[in-house]
Symmetry: D2
Subunit: 301 residues, 4 copies
């Protein structure tokens, strides 16, 4: 045979499961988008089309919905762990399961009568999308969580100067600019072993997000690279359960508009928010002594 | 001539202007997407290509940025009024200006040192997009404001039964379902005359949004039409500056998943959030005695 | 009652129906996205939630799929006519039906063996989306067809000069520029009466599209307005079944890049394709003596 | 230091360059979206914010536009090679450059006068987006080309049966179904050395695309995995310049609609085209003896 099969995986992507939990008149909501990806002893289906080792993607979809009932959804990470364990341990040909989950947050809407006792109305928060990816091979776990679509902006305390100039350089240096980005971040937990105690996934997310935002706000920036590194460093320094952070940060340019043709002075007041092109700044920040494992291409924009 | 020119308009769309206002170390941000559309004595440019009456769309763009400096951005509505008045009164061939604006809200990010005094960091809220459309013909104003992309959900207090059945009907009646929609709403102000006092545009928006959400939460729903009508009625009843409301509400179906094949009972817990198709429910709600003026097709989905 | 109900409509939107017709080993495909919108005697469902006059949106969905079998899909227009007639004539409370359809074109893929006789493989063409909107009130028909997402470009034969200059004008005149737009067009047929012979919808679409493109290519342009008018005029002049055309044409700016800082001359060779802002040019072109009926807001961008 | 910097890269993404070449009255167009990503001796900018080794992303943008003039755009691959070589060889701190390019195809529009001699009008084809990624580290080249957004469909000759059933399996077996996917494919060239002759990039793309489509059409499919493998195998067998293929194929489900409730038989005629969830089938297909180098996460959906 002149060609051979390399890495392969399959499953049902983007299962949109919403779980309502009723605590009397107070309802709780979890809203997930769950993608299942399975690997293992799957050569034959590629070579001959025999599905004898293939659990249908439709079944993996059913399992997502059934598990929402059987296990509930305590957190995206815990839900992914239930699913990954199930596929690897219940199907002999499946040696590895990767569960990717997007979570959409909801806020409560209050009705006009605060005494009604009813708490079943929600508005989708619309800010960042929370992410997790759980991988299991039957022995070790890898959990990489994160977020995307979180747009942040500092309206000052950002400079950019002292850079290399070549024959194609026309950019002017600046001592005061807007720094804005849409954060796509991932962080890898050092929990890998069932025998170890799991992190508190919900608390970890909230705290990591807080540190990320605080570092963005605190840093007097000489480059987006510096701000990005400070954001990763703050997470590593503050959260012992996390060993690695990966960021992919588009530099959402806000250009100071030249108002001089109209006899006006633009004292860092009026900006044009540009779409494309944009700077794209990416890096891994690691706890010293740890190995980088988050793929460079995980956060393809 | 066998063909003639009908309604026509032109201008620069989607000017993304960000305005920073500095109050010492406390910064404020306004983030708008402004579209200009002008009409008037424009036959010749269509018939012969003569631009003698055409103010370039590039100039309308420049005007947006210059006006952010000259007038500031007190509110999207007030900014649109400045622009519309300018085009109609400064250019003889322009008889009508329509300014459409999207506004994106930002929340403050607090740094780790609450005593720093610095307040220049923001995260985009990501929830609804605020809208306004200001039209001016040199004598009367029309202001239609609104919002889009606000996703809301009631996890109970929604029924659907007693409907018409024909030979193509298979739907089962239900006494407890999720009711969810992504609100696209517009409301028309009765302010039309420069001599009258303008509404407080910022307060009006916040209050109208509040009433809309409260009516959604309060209504025990027998149909999305009923809920929609209650939302419009609440606005009309509560806000004397508004005479007309138009909604375009997709019914974001959350289907109860059948778990019986897996030996599980789904007691209104696990739902599949569907994409397409979706019910689409649209209506105008009017103050009695007022004329409907918001176009049915304004909120094309 | 202080508030009243105005115009309202409802139905199932975006029913994605694919119809395969087998002619031996040669298959044919029709791929539609069908949105149903019904109006009539619907006050009660808004005021009280009574669904006694409401045919469920789910039923309208079922009808779309059943009609694909019962009537086939000869053309999008003919399919819309079948649906609209059915809803208005079979349900007493429904007085008006509007069917909107998007159609996606497919091209055949040839296998490696031209003698196999098999013709059941297709690639989606991906160019424009064909559109139609059929409205019926029980007596008269209105059919508005069109297209969107058709991006066209002339790399020369476009000028822009002789325009109005005010204090905010900085644009330089040009005698040679790229003219590009993404065509969103609608055209209204003068067929309204069942007693009259219907147009050949398929042939009409192909010819109208051809004339639109030829007029774009033929016109030496002094403004996008002029090109747009010529496109509409060509359709009216060439297609007797069409009385009205509406265009919404974003001016997709291609800016000549200033290469002088790098010691290079840019002789209309290298352009930056910009996203936002963009000029937006809109107009109705009418057969002389006909009334404009396509809503200005039908083609909201 | 408790944290360290791992892999990092930066540059200007999504530079939209359009190149017009005039051959008398016949014009040619190349339309690219170019993203530059540079790596090297960049620790200091992350740790301290010093930009002393940083060529600004704005300069990388300028270089893209200047190179379109200086080198022309013979093919996306050749253009990427010019850029990557420039950055690595001209800037000491830059050790590696990765250039990603999307290319949009255009077709000619003919005017109404075939004798005019004018050939400067184009319509964007809208079908697949052509892709390439060129990486250079100063000694070896890696070129990975491909495409995305190419939707293909077989209306028969697809079965699915004989799969694993577990307690969550409800899917019915089928001997005749629609098989459709939106192809995202990448292929790696074995050209790595400046001393070797380069492939003919344009011919290679056209031929590879043809083989991919023919294999899709030719294969009687028992699973999408089998079809995918045949597509990759056909490329490897037919194109000696390619050693590795990676596919990410969403199974675009077309569900046979149950028309029995309406007394109708659906003989593989009427389908519902679903959005989410979808099966996602991914694999690498390799020339025997070659090493897999296309990252599994390159084609993140």
């Amino acid at each position: 045979m002149s060609t051979i099969l390399g890495q392969n995986q399959y499953g049902k992507a983007e299962n949109r499961v919403v779980k309502i939990t009723r605590d009397g008149a107070t309802h709780h909501i979890k809203d997930l988008n769950v993608s299942v990806s399975l690997s293992g002893d799957m050569d034959e289906v590629h070579y001959s089309g025999s599905n004898a080792s293939v659990l249908p993607t439709d079944t993996t979809k059913n399992t997502v919905f059934a598990f929402a009932k059987e296990h509930g959804i305590e957190s995206a990470e815990q839900f992914g762990i239930h699913l990954a364990r199930h596929f690897v341990t219940s199907q002999e040909p499946i040696h590895r399961a990767r569960i990717r989950i997007e979570e959409y947050a909801w806020e409560r809407i209050e009705g006009s009568d605060a005494t009604s006792g009813k708490r079943h109305s929600f508005a989708r928060s619309g800010q960042e999308v929370r992410l997790t990816q759980v991988t299991y091979d039957g022995s070790a776990w890898e959990v990489v969580s994160g977020l995307k679509d979180l747009t942040v902006l500092n309206s000052t305390d950002s400079e950019f100067w002292g850079y290399v100039k070549d024959k194609y350089t026309t950019l002017q240096e600046t001592n005061d600019r807007i720094l804005a980005t849409e954060v796509s971040g991932r962080w890898r937990f050092n929990w890998t072993d069932d025998a170890a105690e799991m992190p508190d996934w919900e608390a970890s997310y909230q705290e990591t997000r807080k540190h990320l935002l605080q570092a963005f706000a605190d840093t007097y920036s000489l480059s987006l690279q510096q701000t990005m590194y400070e954001m990763g460093k703050r997470i590593i320094d503050s959260r012992s359960e996390i060993d690695e952070v990966r960021f992919s940060l588009p530099n959402k340019h806000h250009f100071l508009v030249d108002l001089e043709p109209f006899g006006l002075k633009n004292d860092n007041e009026v900006y044009f928010a540009a779409d494309r092109p944009y700077g794209l700044i990416e890096a891994t920040i690691l706890r010293d002594g740890c190995e980088a494992r988050i793929p460079v291409d995980l956060t393809n924009l």
